[in-house]
Amino acid sequence: MLKLKFVKTLVVASAVSLVAATGALAFPEKSIEYIIPFGPGGESDISARFQQPFFKDKFGQDLVVSYKPGGGGAVGWAQLNSMAGDGYTIMGINLPHIVIQPAQKDVGYTTEDIKAFYMFHYTPDAIVVTADSPYQTLEDLIADAKANPGSVTMSGSGKATANHLAQIRFDKMAGIKTTYVPFKGTGASVTAMLGKQVKAQWGYTTVGAAQGDAVRMLAVAMEERHPLFPDVPTFKELGFDMVGGAYRGMAVPKDTPDETVKALSDMFGEINADEAFRKQMLDGGFALLDVGVDGMGDFMKARKDEYIEAATEAGLLN
């Protein structure tokens, strides 16, 4: 109890000093803990590692990345609100995870529990094949799937994930039936595609960036072509209204004061605006996104409706 009071006092104090003369300069006074609710090496980890040096550069404090894997992220998110709400603890969040997981089962948190303050990038969905695949274009894949329903196998990371939802949505739009093979993480799903265990992969543009000439992307789910892949068409160009992927951002414990949240949002916005940072992210195949704390409500609502609809149609939610 005493400890909690102490923390609250601290929070109030820091909030007051924040609002007072110095503005954003008083925060942060010490290193910020950045918890990734997954194991190391995935897209969430890598993009956080990209932010790390820029944070230190701009704000003089360390951004300390730690991992709390388990339950596909659920373990971390379920504990987020029991952590200290002083702005010095933030946690990576992912869409569609935080929408689909609580909608499916009781995982110890709800989507509304998560106080997101910045969404900084997304990895656009993409269909990836090996360089020597018979599928030269998206049309080839669709034709094969129409001729042999169910025989086109596509790997992806897990079930009820961005990859899986993309597969369901695209199958419906194109009027085809493909077989989705879930793997543990993007790395395993890429390996299966490269090893020709499956015919194609539902992956992200990051796969194209990492694998270079070894793979070919048939289409990407973006509004415009990704600057790194000027030759790869968007789904939109090909007549399929698909834009999206896995969105990543950060959240704070619920009781973090609004001023602190705003300050954090501004800080990460500043990192996102840095040209060097943008270039690094784009070179990695990521697509940048700038949703700060102000636009978060609308953004989350739109995503939530979209995911719930797709998941309900797919029979993932009962």
Partner: protein, 508 residues
């Protein structure tokens, strides 16, 4: 890959980094709960300020040291410091118990250095062609590989096969707890939200192996390890002689370790177990695996250190991490602006080759540092009074398990599982089959489900499971390792009978 890369690797800074990395890694790896992954992850931010090659050398040295360090606690406390060292406990702890802990530590060091060198050599000379091994392994191959690993239960539970199998099934069920890895169902949590994260493997290892040792230690006043009087030096020469005699075992285990290290879905624990299984299968008459056989330690330790070099092959060539620490290193490389992939060996060649030579240097440095630290660790554990040893190790299990993913429930699960494991072991249900089930369960399940889905989609289920060459080879090895001990036993019996018949003087 000329001499200039070797010269680059040999700068004073890089040598110092390699030395620091090996020492820090060895110490971290020897603490149960602190894994190679964590050691590498903690250091990543420090490496941002370094040139890429130096950063890689530091991370590689820590990684290789940590995998070796896991052997200490496996030998001296029956607790694998990292999952890679599970097989080291089978013979290491019995050796330590009978007073040969110093010898065990020494041969573990020789085997680790040897395995590390073979792995690094493969990385240096054969990386691009070998990387295709990672791609040749599909879901079915992983399924059969895990079944091969599980077949070790049969040989580990001599005289108690049924109990071993029941224990293995228990371990497999434990591996199902929590959110299913690839299907997103929540299983066997019985409504408890603390169980959603499942049973953390390293925590479970600490519980199942270490807690029973502690419970037995406090129950009686006897010493922890038998100690020889007269303060011998660590038996370097004796160990070297043993290692030389087992050079074929070392080489075979190192090759197994390298190849399994290349497989992204397997890793050091599987490599060690497969190498152990093969060493046991080809045992000479008179070798008693599981009761303190030096060859058992050598097989595991050579194999797990060979996975370091092996794991870097897909990491650097394909951009697919071979092991979890490789995943962290890959992330660090990306931040450094180094793109891995097929072109790295050409375009980024100098970084890669400097790093590989750095890995060699780190592995060689492991010989003196490993023997030195090993000697110190052995002396400490042997001479420290039991009164302080027990609470210290107990404290380490708590803090180590907590650190894995900063969770108190993991610690509780560790203690409860350890106590259950102690009770079970008292009735002939040993810990190792449970652990094998826990580790290999997810690999088996994912392989099976994926192979089934793909087989159904292509309309050829039988061909999927039994029609692929690599699968058939693994199946053959599995059958062989199950049947061979029976044949061998029969042959040994016959030999004994013949001897008894021809030579009546033999009374033993």
């Amino acid at each position: 890959m000329g001499f200039e890369h070797l010269a680059n690797a040999l700068t004073l800074t890089n040598l110092a980094l390699a030395l620091f990395g090996v020492v820090a890694g060895t110490i971290i790896g020897s603490i149960p709960g602190l894994s190679a992954t964590m050691a590498v992850a903690v250091l990543v931010p420090i490496t941002f300020a370094m040139p890429p090659a130096s950063a890689l050398i530091l991370l590689g040295a820590i990684y290789t040291g940590a995998i070796y360090g896991g052997a200490y606690s496996a030998i001296l406390l029956n607790t694998p410091g990292t999952p890679s060292a599970i097989g080291t406990t089978f013979d290491g702890y019995p050796m330590a118990k009978r007073g040969d802990g110093d010898l065990a530590v020494a041969i573990a060091c020789y085997a680790s250095v040897f395995g590390g060198m073979i792995g690094a050599l493969a990385l240096l000379l054969l990386a691009p062609p070998l990387s295709s091994v990672a791609l040749a392994f599909g879901p079915v191959e992983y399924l059969w590989l895990s079944i091969f690993g599980l077949s070790l239960i049969a040989s580990l539970s001599t005289g108690n096969l049924l109990k071993g199998l029941a224990g293995g099934a228990f371990g497999l069920l434990l591996s199902c707890v929590g959110v299913a890895e690839i299907s997103a169902d929540i299983r066997l949590t019985f409504g408890s939200s603390t169980m959603i994260g499942g049973i953390e493997v390293v925590g479970a290892l600490i519980g199942l192996y270490c807690i029973p040792v502690l419970i037995d230690l406090v129950a009686t006043p006897e010493r922890h390890l038998k100690v020889e009087e007269g303060g011998r030096a660590v038996r370097f020469r004796e160990g070297a002689l043993l290692a030389w005699r087992s050079r074929f075992n070392l080489l075979r285990s190192s090759i197994i370790g390298t190849v399994i290290g290349i497989l992204p879905g397997a890793g050091g624990s599987v490599a060690g177990l497969v190498a152990y299984s093969e060493a046991k299968r080809t045992a000479k008459p008179g070798q008693k695996f599981g009761e303190g056989e030096p060859d058992g330690i050598m097989a595991t330790e050579a194999a797990n250190n060979a996975t370091v070099g092996g794991g870097f092959i897909p990491t650097l060539v394909l951009g697919i991490p071979g092991t979890p620490p490789d995943a962290v290193i890959l992330g660090a490389l990306l931040v450094q602006g180094v793109r891995t992939g097929p072109t790295l060996f050409d375009s980024g060649g100098s970084i890669v080759y400097t790093f590989i030579f750095g890995l060699f240097i780190a592995t060689i440095l492991m010989l003196p540092t490993g023997l030195l630290i090993g000697r110190y660790a052995y002396k400490t554990i042997v001479t420290i009074p039991k009164t302080i040893l027990v609470p210290s190790v107990g404290f380490m299990t708590i803090i180590g398990t907590f650190a894995i993913r900063n969770s108190i429930s993991d610690v509780i699960i560790m203690i409860v599982l350890g106590t259950v494991g102690w009770v079970l072991s008292r009735f002939g249900f040993a810990a190792s089959p449970i652990v094998l089930g826990l580790i290999l369960g997810p690999i088996a399940e994912q392989g099976f489900v994926q192979a089934w889905i793909i087989g159904e989609a292509t309309g050829n289920l039988t061909g999927m499971f039994f029609g692929r060459p690599i699968s058939l080879a693994i199946i053959a090895f599995t059958v062989l390792s199950l049947v061979y001990p029976v044949i061998q036993g029969r042959r040994a019996k016959k030999l004994l009978e013949m001897q008894a018949g021809s030579n009546a003087k033999t009374d033993d």
